[in-house]
Structure formats: C-alpha cells, structure tokens
Amino acid sequence: MGKVLMKGNEVIGEAAIHAGCYYFFGYPITPQSELVAYMAKRLPEVGGLFLQSESEVSAINMVYGAASAGKRVMTSSSSPGFSLKQEGISYLAGAELPAVIVNVARGGPGLGNIQPSQSDYFQVTKGGGHGDYHTPVLAPANLQEIIELTSDAFRIADQYRTPVILLGDGMLGQMMEPVEFNEKTETGDNFMKDWATTGTEGDGLPKVITSLDLNDVKLEQRNHRLQAKYRKIENNETKVEVKNVEEADYVIVAYGTVARIAHSAIEKARQDGIKVGLIRPISLWPFPKKIISDTSKNVKAILTVEMSAGQMVEDVRLAVEGKSPVSFYGRTGGIIPTVDEIYREILKLGKGVTS
C-alpha cells in the first residue's frame, strides 16, 4: 500500500480498523467529529459495527459492554465529552477491561472552544475518574505515528487488561499528512480472552466482570494487583523520543503537536549555535522520568512548552528534583505557541531567566 493523504481524525479510525478494532461507539463533538463520521462509513464496509450513542456517558458504557464480551473496541471524543467518559473509564480500570479511548483535545475549561489544547493532561495522566488507577496515555505528534500508537494502544490494552488513552489535539485531528498503513499490524488474535463474558456455552463456571468488592480485604488485594500491573506498565511501556540531548546545554520537553513546533524552534536555535535538545514524551503515563532525571544532571536548564497553563511541567519538575532549573512556557485557550515565541524562550534560558 502506498502513501495516502488523510486527516488525522480519519487516520485514527483507519488505524483502529487495521489494529483489528471493528466496534466503535461514539458521539459527535468538534474537533473529532470526522472520526465518528469515518467509522460510520467505514465500519459497515468491513463488517464491523458503528453506533452513535445518545451521549458520551452511554458510549463509554457501550464500550464497557463490548470489552466485557472480549472484543477490541474504541470510543472517541474531545475534552467536554471526554470528561463525561471519566466515570466509565474508572469502571473499565476497576473491572480490568481493555479498551481504547481517544481524546482529540480542545480548549477549556467548560465548553471552552474547539481549537487545539493540551489542557487535559492532568485528567488523562492522573486517573481522571475516582479511585486509585492510571491509564496508559499515548500522544502522537504526527499522523504516521498515530498508526503506530493506535496499534500499540490496543496491544497494551489487551496485554494488561486496561483502558488506554490516545491523546491528540484539534490540530492533529484536523490536519492532513501522507501516511502509509502497514498490512502486518497486530490485530489481537493472540490474546486469549478467557475472562470475557460471552455465555458459558456449558463450558466451565459462569464468569463475572465487576469492579465491586464489598470485602475491604479483597478490595485492597485488588488494588495491590492493579498497582503491581501499573509498575509493570511503567517498566515496559515508557516511550520517549530524544533528540540532540547528549551535547545539549538546554533541553525542551514537549509532547504531541507542540513538540513539532518546539523542534522547529530548536533547529533555529542550533543554527545560531545554541545547543538545544528535545525530549518528547510519547507515553505521558508512564512518564519518561528517568531520561529527564538523567538529562537534568548535564544541562544548564530545561524548558517545558505546553498548550496549557502548566500541567506536564509538574511531572518534569518531579523528575528533575531540582537538579536543574525548569522553566515553563504555555499558551492556552486554543492558541498555538509559535516557533518564534519558543525561540525567544530558548534565548531567555541563556540569560538565566527562568519563570
């Protein structure tokens, strides 16, 4: 298959189908509506099922049902709708059900606007719903990477029996780039879902899927099991891109689309002889703490750039533990930081100005 030019939202849909996901439940919301429309058109063509739910609350619960029945399943939304899915995501985590949930984030809080934003970082990386849980979060920076990470998201979901978040923003969802689909994507056939509730067919005892445990001791055991699983995910599934960090005086930490803009600013700075590197977390949870911690020992300063008022920067500071100054530059409300703005922040680092 050659290269095709597609919108980010549509790439997510096609990537999910390539990853063996034939079930999609969703509700329209800008700027991810093209994904819903794409699934409405494409899934029936490949023998799958698309259903427009009456709300995001019901969409995530339809996902809970399909996941209980052992199928690869996905839902998607944008920030306000993603908030509504939080209850369901907590239940998926508690019941240990695999599913992929997409957030094509937009400006908030509240109804906010429909422009790109990264202000849902706290919500997606810190659990988001009630209870002690985490969801792996993957944040692609370009459309080709969406394909790889969508497939990864389904694999992680099945392997660890956990909901996984694919986090993009309005820019990623709306833009077009050439992409190439790999015919050999893993489609989940090798995951034995012997826990799924599909009807016993007289074979063994009835199975139960639940997040309820009235017995405190047993619920704590369940929590220990979840936490052990999260440690395993931290060990195995941390993903990060590192560029020009070895000989760098300064490092920018940025993810998703902002990392691309930061990269352009870094190139400009390097042309001017300023040694700047880039650390791009690809998994936002688990967060690439180690590389950031190690790097912070060798650089003069770290700059975090986000389309938020400063969310990931908290994780960066936790990783750095004071080993180097950490400054922050952010734009909110759907405004995208420009190459020049980031470049100016890099210059400030040289002058020892940190904010």
Binding site: P28, T30, S33, A37, F50, Q52, E54, S55, P80, L111
Partner: protein, 249 residues
C-alpha cells in the same frame, strides 16, 4: 410615514451567526417578542444549551446562563427554584441537546412539573457539529453518521418528543408548531405565549416544539428547506396541542 416593522426589544441589537435560511433567527424573534410583550424581559432568565443556539446568550435581551450539553433543564430547575416566583425561566434547546444527551434531564424536569418553559427547536439533525444524525432524524435521511440513510435496524426510529412528554402526568402545556410559512410562524408565536403564560400562572411544565430548518446540513436551499419541513417533517411530526391542562391546574 407609518412604521410597519420594528426590531423587538426582546433581542439585542446585534447580528446573529446563523446560516442563511436557518429558522433559529425567527424563533429567537418570537421568543424575544413574547417576553417583551409580557413585559417580562427584566425578570426572565434564559438558559442557552449547546448546539447552534449556544450563542443565543448574545442575542436574547435578558439575563442568560449557558448550560452543559443536554443539561439545560437541570440548570433551569436550579435557577427557577431559588428565585422568587415572578421570575420566568426558559431553556432553548436543539433536538440533539434535548432528546439525545439530555433526554434524562428533560424527562425528569417534565415529570417534576418544573415550572419552566422549554423552547425545543427540532431540525432533525445536529447543526453545530456539522450534520450528524439526531434522535429526530427521519427514516432514510442521510447524515454524516447515517451515510446510507437512517434505517430502523441500524439506528432505530425517530423520537416524537411532544407526544412522549405529553404522557407524563407532570406536563401542563405541550404544543408542536412549525416555521415553514408566515401563517405557521404566527401560530408558533401564540403557542410560545401560551407556554410562558402557563409558567406565569404557576401551572407547571410547558414546552413548545418548533420544527425548524437546517439548509446547510440538509444540503438544500433555504426555500427547499421550508418545503422539506412541510413535506417530510410535518407528516412524521404532526402539528398541534399535545397537552393542555392549564384550566385543570
């Protein structure tokens, strides 16, 4: 010279963002005029929903609060219950907002006979988000999320909201009207007046369902859209009064 037509004080003197041929603007005017004629603008609080009418808070010339998608009747309940009885509270909601994500809120507000007035604009589609299927989308109607046309097997059947809410004991006044020609626009205004009067007299839940156009997402011209309301929508959504307990209550 005689003045034949004037702006209503019920709306602010601003341009709206509605597409050409969309009847949201007419409906705004009817609501604004009614409140102005009742002398109620200064004691009215409107609740804007999420849909094409989300910016109606910029248009209605009274206090307005904006609710999350589908939750306007709950927000209106909160506003109404804490303010003095002479305050009028209305919601202005599309069919996606009211009958899809907000079905729970509208049903329970009606069941509680909340003394509010609901202006329900049914255009058989999601306008704001670019033409996806609504609960009121007609059989066979093509939308971005029913690309082959709505079928009962895949998407189920359209909901007749007025008929359904009329079955609830809590509702007092429910009428379905249309805006496809001048005579029907005049009738729609009368219905809106009756609904607000119901609230004014403390008689409980009132709703006017107004059939409306969406030329942009229907892919029709403004004129064809009016015809479509008449030929396609009204047969499925018959006009008329579905509940009137104003005398009994």
């Amino acid at each position: 010279m005689k003045t034949a037509f004037e702006r209503t004080n019920g709306l602010k003197d601003v341009d709206t963002h509605y597409c050409p041929g969309c009847t949201h603007g007419i409906i705004h005017r009817l609501v604004g005029e009614t409140l102005a004629e009742m002398g109620a603008l200064e004691r009215t609080v409107g609740v804007a929903s999420v849909g094409c009418s989300v910016l109606s808070y910029d248009y209605f010339n009274c206090d307005m609060t904006q609710a999350a998608h589908g939750r306007a009747p709950a927000v209106a309940t909160g506003v109404k219950r804490v303010l003095p009885d002479d305050r009028l509270v209305f919601t202005y909601q599309g069919d996606g907002d009211l009958a899809s994500i907000g079905m729970g809120e509208i049903v329970h507000s009606a069941a509680r006979s909340e003394n509010i007035t609901v202006i329900f604009v049914n255009n058989a589609i999601y306008g704001m988000t670019g033409g996806q299927m609504a609960p009121t989308t007609l059989m066979g109607q093509k939308t971005a999320t029913s690309p082959l046309g709505r079928s009962s097997a895949a998407q189920g059947l359209p909901i007749r909201v007025s008929e359904m809410l009329a079955t609830l004991d809590g509702t007092t006044y429910i009428e379905r009207v249309s805006t496809h020609d001048v005579a029907h626009v005049m009738k729609a205004k009368k219905a809106i007046r009756k609904a607000f009067d119901t609230q004014e007299k403390n008689k409980g839940f009132s709703m006017v369902e107004i059939l409306s156009t969406c030329p942009t997402n229907w892919g029709l011209t403004p004129e064809e859209s009016l015809q479509w309301v008449k030929d396609e929508m009204i047969p499925y959504y018959p006009l008329g009064i579905y509940k009137d307990l104003r005398e009994e209550r």
